[in-house]
């Protein structure tokens, strides 16, 4: 009887000791900062999306009016169409070239040459991304820039690349060509290096080589990396409006030729091209959020299915 009690007390004492309340002090800065600057804005965005707020204060609650208006807003649909094209085309071209580079480097037999070339491809990261855009605006696609000089040499008329429909569309997509500078190719390269050497040996013995090996063996085995860039590409791509903000704007005049949701939000809230409408702009943010979450969940479920099989 007495013994039982001590065991009970012992367990109780241990359980009490297991909780370390000092831990709350350790996580306090994170919790406080994120509550103010991440959680509150998140909740507030959803509230704003249902109001007609025009900058200061909440204005009136308008139910789903903002969303109904959005679905009838021609500009919004142009933005969605544009951002889908930019994201999908950008992701296909970018990943194709990046995998190509990783494959090329992977197949270089001289180790030191390969390592040296690798470092050189990373160099563009050292330049701030805004500056890279400015370089493309002022050196490559400027009125007497590289591309126009090539056009002149071929006897064609020079073009105001970033400022004329539909050339601005092409210029935005080709900015940063060949899209391999940076560190993404290292992640693919690491994926290739992680593949067991015996796989390649077996492929070689079976007479599978070159392009067929890449498609049938390499790509399936770096699926993890592909998926990572797919998710990151979609999430980043849907939000991106750097080029519009820094160089092109929404497209010449009011054509909205290259407008994207992110820039439309910026216009509605800050640029002065429209009356300030925080509520309406927040509704666009909510739509982008829903698309992103939907995509992530879809991807997650597909993953789970694959694991189950």
């Amino acid at each position: 009887m007495r013994k039982d009690k001590t065991v009970e007390q012992h367990i109780k004492a241990r359980r009490r000791k297991r909780y370390n309340y000092w831990a709350f002090l350790w996580i306090l800065p994170v919790v406080v900062l994120m509550a103010i600057f991440s959680a509150y804005p998140l909740i507030n965005s959803f509230i704003l999306a249902f109001t007609d707020s025009s900058g200061s204060g909440y204005g009136n609650f308008v139910g789903f009016d903002n969303f109904i208006e959005l679905f009838q807003d021609e500009v919004f649909w142009i933005c969605i169409k544009n951002v889908l094209i930019f994201t999908v085309v950008g992701m296909i071209c970018g990943n194709f070239m990046t995998i190509l580079l990783a494959e090329l480097l992977f197949n270089v037999k001289f180790k030191k040459t390969s390592a040296f070339l690798r470092v050189l491809f990373i160099l563009p990261v050292l330049v701030p991304s805004v500056v890279v855009l400015l370089v493309w605006e002022n050196i490559i696609f400027s009125s007497s820039g590289l591309v126009n000089q090539m056009f002149l040499a071929m006897g064609k008329e020079p073009i105001a690349w970033y400022y004329e429909n539909p050339y601005n569309f092409i210029a935005i997509i080709t900015t940063n060509f060949p899209w391999v500078g940076g560190t993404s190719f290292l992640i693919y390269l690491a994926g290739l290096q992680n593949i067991n050497k015996s796989v390649f040996e077996a492929a070689r013995l079976d007479g599978i080589s070159g392009f067929r090996r890449v498609v049938k063996i390499d790509l399936p085995l770096i699926k993890g990396q592909l998926k990572y860039f797919l998710i990151m590409g979609v999430i980043g791509g849907l939000q991106n409006f750097d080029l519009q903000l820094i160089i092109t704007g929404s497209g010449p005049g009011t054509s909205n030729g290259v407008n994207v949701p992110g820039y439309y939000i910026f216009q509605l809230a800050w640029s002065g091209e429209y009356d300030v409408r925080y509520g309406y702009a927040s509704a666009i943010g909510v739509i982008i959020f829903l698309i992103t979450i939907g995509f992530s969940i879809m991807n997650f479920r597909k993953n789970r299915k694959e694991v189950m099989q």
Binding site: Y19, N20, W22, A23, W26, I27, V30, V31, L33, M34, I36, F37, S38, Y40, P41, L42, N44, S45, M97, L101, L104, N107, V108, T113, L117, L120, F121, I122, L123, P124, V125, L126, V127, P128, V131, L134, V135, N138, I139, I140, S142, S143, S144, G145, L146, P178, G181, G182, T183, I187, I231, Q239, G262, I265, A269, S282, G285, V286, I288, S296
Partner: protein, 282 residues
């Protein structure tokens, strides 16, 4: 003769591969080479023109002198903000990561998942609300209005990364420290931090690079010219000077790369780890 064909058969694929890589490399680096080249030219309307007496153009370092005079204040601003964000993120993130890895407390998993969930929230969704919050609490046009939200935005990833690392540290070591009666904060600073140097440096580099690149948020929050950050000033400078002579902004672009170049020279391995660390959170 036979030997020669053998040599070619053996090395031809390698030569082709390296040639392809070099073509890609030239296309990748050419814009940057042109940038540096033109930052030393008086007139830059033709980026390929080689300065000579006959075309009235010449090499000059005047662009650097002029632009440095103009941007030095903003350069310091950018450095201050970037250091504050990367140090704040790393310190607070690793503190929380440590607690989540080594302590037990009520609602531990719920809080951790709640923090991680913010990695899924697109910055675009909260952009307007964050801005009006900054205005409402009086941090508009104040560098803290940039620093605090940017720290908050990078904390989920920092917490996650450091927690994973701390979980890998041996338990016995902490037991020993506890038995020796070392206080919690001392344990963190004299035991945990030195051991976690690799992950701390990776995190510092990663947040430094991303904050140094930040344009949108700094542009929204900082309106006074003397508070603005470097990317914002460079964009404005390009717009105001127009296409007359670009050597001044071009020199500014080159100067803006210096901090990252320094980090890269002193620790390119850490730099690369910082830049690719995102891929391993999956």
């Amino acid at each position: 003769m036979k030997r020669q064909t053998h040599f070619f058969q053996r090395y031809l694929p390698q030569i082709v591969i390296i040639l392809c890589i070099i073509i890609l490399l030239v296309m990748t680096l050419f814009p940057l080479v042109l940038l540096v080249f033109n930052s030393f030219k008086l007139y830059t309307d033709d980026p390929l023109q080689w300065p000579s007496d006959s075309n009235g153009n010449m090499f000059t370092t005047e662009g650097y002198a002029l632009v440095w005079d103009y941007i030095k204040g903003n350069y310091v601003n950018s450095l201050v903000i970037t250091f504050a964000v990367s140090i704040g993120t790393t310190l607070f993130g690793s503190m929380a990561g440590y607690a989540f890895a080594k302590y037990d407390f009520p609602f531990k998993n719920a809080i951790f998942i709640a923090i991680l969930a913010f990695m899924m929230v697109p910055g675009l969704l909260t952009l307007i609300s964050r801005y009006s919050l900054i205005v409402n609490i009086g941090l508009n046009d104040n560098i803290w209005g940039v620093i605090l939200p940017q720290i908050s935005a990078s904390l989920p990833f920092a917490t996650f990364l450091t927690r994973t690392f701390f979980q890998g540290l041996p338990k016995e070591m902490f037991e020993a420290a506890r038995m020796d009666g070392i206080s919690e904060s001392k344990k963190f600073y004299s035991l945990v931090l030195p051991l976690s140097k690799p992950i701390i440096i990776t995190l510092l580099v990663q947040t430094f690079v991303s904050q140094w690149n930040d344009y949108l948020w700094s542009r929204l929050v900082l309106q006074s010219e003397d508070l603005q950050t470097l990317p914002v000033v460079l964009v404005n400078l390009t717009d105001t000077l127009g296409p007359i002579s670009y050597c001044i902004p071009f020199a500014g672009y080159v100067l803006s790369a210096i901090p990252l170049i320094i980090i890269f020279i002193f620790g390119n391995k850490k730099f690369i780890e910082g830049m690719t660390s995102g891929a391993f959170k999956m």
